[in-house]
């Protein structure tokens, strides 16, 4: 392969990224006052319980914005012509404390303008970002369509994928947008009760006198003046038509407002419960209703709510006051949580995301790739070797960053490295890179580095893509059956090492085939190099067999301990089995004399197809584990990568025929 043309190709590939500084979406905001860094830092440490786990609000903010926008920062231009780019934590601060600003920030990505056309909103470009206010005219229609499609999607799942319930592409997007908008609505309302400034979620559907009233009523004080009543009674009273007198109307209005605020503030579990034995944190809604229900709980509930009020009040006084209030609040919340043994690793978690270990790791691998590509210009010179060494070192740094991130994640959740699909990407990448570097250490002719760098780039890129696409917290709670560190350490870790080896074998196979194919045109065969590659690949395949086999059998033993059967022909088990079987096919086929050099490399590509199928495919065979669109994405990506491998295999077949001819002619020559 011609190194110069490769460099050119690389430059072309990277160029669009550099030119990606596209035009920013315009915001209706006249101007935007960014938060000071200290304020954001004080805010991001606040604790929230979500999905059964206490975590910093930083994490919640990150995955919420990823879910809405698919990015970790929102960029826009204000009317005064200034460009802004705000990070998720600052954006979340806007959502909770400056809702009126947040409503004008373009945080909803719409992949196809057909979506906004259908809800009666005038579209911008084909794929664009919209603010809440821009979508507001279509809000009702969106809710209607969303409910309709949610119903349909559910039927699709229940009917085991009856095609008549399958959502179309645009329908799926509308459903996602409807869910996002609804989630945003709720987030805006989290601290609405504490604001008293007439800012209300969905203010447009409330009667104007209620909006007026909201500016005069202190919801927290109101609790104190009320008789004890349960939710049912409250609902009853809200339902009654308001009486004739001014006072009665005022009272009834106040009750409605109270109920409205309480219903809005029902998402973020922000408050550790009073009872230390109680595990579930509570929302502002729970507090308001609890305070209303019993006078015994009233002082405590009011204290919690009033603390939020001091935050909103301080925010209006200016940023220094807000900063001080946030710090005080955060300190108190952390102290309470710490006595319960919770939130102690929030700092580490922020460090995990702020450190951008995985993104930086990707940067290292890309740099390593560039350096390595330069080394190919003069592979045999001293400069070439130095560059190769530099690429290896960079790849090692990339590996170290990845490994550090993995270690952080282990510490945060007190678990072995792999507990879900996202973890496998990080882990398999790390193993593949390490394997590549080890091969380089043993052989020292550049292929190991190539393997390490390529797996690093692909793996870290995939991890970032996956996180953005899933947009849910990747540090998840485990199901009861997975709750065993022993098996997670042994079976899960080992089997994933096997996956990594299967993929490394394929990369070596690709190098071999490319090199052989290129040699066809250069008429410069390098038999030694190719034989070395074959030996190398054979070693990697044996390595793959060892770990896959041990991992699979360990999985069976675990299954036997948990469920009473060693083997159940479950798709995931079968996937692992197929990897073992195919490595055995390669080893025995080689002994049978059916496959030699090229056969090993071609079969390593088949192994990669099986490995990717086991790793990603089997999870998506049954009812989709994840959202609808994601399943589709996985199969698309799998088919694409298999098609690419197929092209290489076709190349391999050409080479195989050539080899055969060469062998035959040699034999004829010998006979003559």
């Amino acid at each position: 392969m011609n190194a110069r043309s490769l460099l050119a190709a690389l430059a072309v590939a990277l160029l669009p990224g550099a030119l990606a500084a596209r035009e920013l979406p315009k915001s209706a905001l006249q101007n935007y006052v960014p938060w000071q860094d200290e304020t954001v830092h004080a805010f991001e440490k606040l604790l929230v319980q979500e999905d059964g786990r206490v975590k910093p609000i930083y994490t919640v903010a990150r995955f919420t914005l990823l879910q809405f926008l698919g990015k970790s920062a929102v960029s826009f231009q204000t009317q005064d012509g200034k460009d802004h780019r705000i990070h998720y934590a600052a954006w979340f601060l806007d959502v909770l404390f400056r809702g009126e600003v947040a409503k004008d920030l373009p945080v909803f990505i719409v992949d196809d303008s057909e979506v906004v056309v259908q809800i009666g909103v005038s579209p911008k470009s084909k794929r664009d970002r919209y603010s809440y206010n821009e979508l507001l005219p279509g809000r009702a229609k969106l809710a209607e369509l969303g409910a309709q499609y949610a119903e349909k999607e559910q039927k699709y799942r229940d009917s085991e994928k009856d095609p008549q319930y399958e959502l179309g592409r645009v329908e799926g997007m509308i459903l996602t947008l409807a869910r996002n908008i609804s989630a945003f609505d709720y987030l805006l309302g989290q601290f609405g009760f504490a604001r008293q400034d007439g800012f209300l979620v969905n203010a447009n559907i409330l009667p104007p006198e209620l909006v007026e009233l909201s500016k005069r009523i202190d919801i927290v004080e109101m609790i104190d003046k009320m008789p004890e009543m349960g939710v049912d009674q409250l609902v009853q009273m809200v339902r009654q038509p308001s009486g004739g007198s001014e006072e009665e109307r005022m009272f009834s209005g106040a009750l409605r407002l109270f109920f409205f605020h309480a219903s809005s503030a029902s998402v973020l579990k922000f408050f550790p419960p009073q009872d230390e034995k109680e595990e579930v944190w509570i929302t502002a809604r729970d507090l308001m209703l609890a305070g209303l229900e019993s006078k015994a709980q009233r002082p405590w509930a009011m204290e919690q709510l009033a603390a939020v009020q001091t935050l909103t009040k301080a925010q209006k006084e200016g940023e220094p006051a807000f900063l001080a209030a946030l710090q005080a609040y955060s300190q108190k919340q952390h102290e309470t949580a710490a006595t319960r043994g919770e939130g102690t690793r929030a700092g580490l978690e922020i460090q995990l995301y702020r450190g951008k270990w995985f993104a930086n790791s990707l940067v290292c691998f890309i740099l390593a790739f560039v350096v390595m590509a330069f080394s190919w210009l003069t592979p045999e010179s001293k400069i070439g070797r130095t560059l190769l060494l530099a690429a290896g070192v960079l790849a090692f740094v990339g590996f170290a960053l990845d490994a550090y991130g993995i270690a952080l994640r282990c510490i945060i959740r007190d678990r072995p490295p792999i507990t879900n699909l996202y973890d496998t990407i990080l882990f398999i990448t790390a193993v593949a890179v390490l394997l590549g570097l080890f091969i380089e250490y043993c052989t020292r002719f550049g292929v190991g580095t190539f393997v390490a760098v390529v797996s690093g780039v692909l793996g870290m890129f995939l991890s970032i893509k996956y996180e953005a696409k899933e947009a849910t917290d990747t540090i998840s709670q485990l199901q009861a059956v997975l709750d065993t560190n022993f098996w997670l350490w042994t079976h899960v870790t080992i089997i994933n090492i096997g996956y990594a080896a299967g993929l490394v074998a394929a990369i070596i196979g690709l190098v071999y085939l490319t090199s052989r194919f290129a040699a066809l045109f250069h008429r410069r065969e390098n038999a030694d190099f190719h034989r070395a590659l074959t030996r190398m690949n054979y070693g990697v395949i044996c390595f793959c067999l060892f770990f896959s086999l041990v991992g699979t059998v360990l999985g069976g033993i675990w299954a036997n301990y948990s469920w009473g059967r060693f083997w159940g022909w479950d798709p995931k088990e079968n996937g692992a089995l197929m990897i073992c079987l195919w490595t055995l096919v390669i080893l025995h086929g080689r002994m049978a004399g059916w496959i030699r050099e090229i056969g090993i490399h071609m079969n390593s590509l088949v192994l990669a197809i099986i490995t990717t199928f086991s790793w990603w495919g089997v999870n998506n065979l049954g009812v989709g584990l994840h959202s609808y669109g994601f399943t589709e994405g996985v199969w698309g990506a799998l088919y694409t990568s298999w098609a690419v491998l197929g092209i290489f295999m076709a190349m391999g077949i050409v080479l195989w025929f050539q080899d055969r001819e060469a062998r035959l002619s040699k034999r004829v020559g010998a006979a003559v």
Partner: protein, 235 residues
């Protein structure tokens, strides 16, 4: 009827207890059992086993009718719910009110009726796991179909309730011009929509009746009767 000093049930019972028996025993015994095997019930149907019942097996419930035995207890006019019965593992049971005609379950409908002189009235039950998109969204979806303005959250929360499956379901009644949507652009003025929405943790249930206002009013009692007869087939 013990024979030859061996309990009659023994050789056959070992076959009965499945594959666990015959290889975990020493081989000579297995061979002996094979010899004995034809002896148990030369005239009985081969394979038939006679054995004592253990404590957990010996008590039965005596019931008089197939109705009870097939768990259609106290539901004289019940039917098996969906057309095939296979789409929903837990079928519904209910009484069909007089003058109502059952239609095959259409898309997203578990039970589907028409009524009125020309069959212009329609009533169906749909069930969804989860909360089905939320109470407010569904109430307002129905209101939108009738051309009515959406309700706010607290107005939705303030809707009256009626029992459905023994749980409080929100009652919705809207008059207006009905546009069914779902690919149809037809509209029907002077219609009424009456419905119940139950959004429980176990799943959401929708019972919805639409038709010309006077037809729906006339069938109000039938609707109530149908709703109170709705139950889940227990098995």
């Amino acid at each position: 009827m013990p024979r030859r000093g061996v309990p009659t049930t023994e050789p056959c019972a070992s076959g009965q207890s499945g594959r666990d028996g015959w290889l975990s025993r020493p081989l000579p015994l297995a061979a002996a059992l094979l010899v004995l095997l034809p002896a148990c019930g030369e005239k009985d149907t081969p394979g038939l086993v006679e054995r004592p019942l253990s404590v957990s097996e010996k008590n039965f419930r005596l019931v008089d009718s197939s109705m009870e035995r097939f768990r259609y207890t106290a539901r004289p006019a019940a039917s098996a719910g969906t057309e095939s019965g296979s789409a929903t593992p837990r079928g519904l049971v209910y009484d069909t009110p007089e003058g109502w005609t059952e239609k095959p379950g259409a898309a997203m409908r578990d039970v589907n009726f028409t009524f009125g002189e020309k069959g212009e009235g329609e009533c169906y039950v749909a069930r969804l796991p989860g909360t089905g998109g939320g109470l407010a969204a569904n109430v307002n979806r129905w209101r939108a179909q009738m051309g009515a303005a959406p309700l706010s959250d607290e107005e939705v929360a303030a809707l009256p309730t009626r029992p459905l499956f023994g749980q409080p379901a929100r009652f919705v009644a809207v008059d207006g011009t009905f546009s069914p949507g779902m690919g149809s652009s037809e509209t029907f003025p002077g219609y009424r929509l009456v419905g119940l929405i139950l959004a429980a943790d176990a799943g959401a249930v929708f019972v919805k009746m639409t038709g010309p206002k006077e037809v729906v009013e006339k069938n109000g009692a039938a609707f109530d009767q149908f709703v109170s007869s709705l139950d889940v087939k227990s098995n």
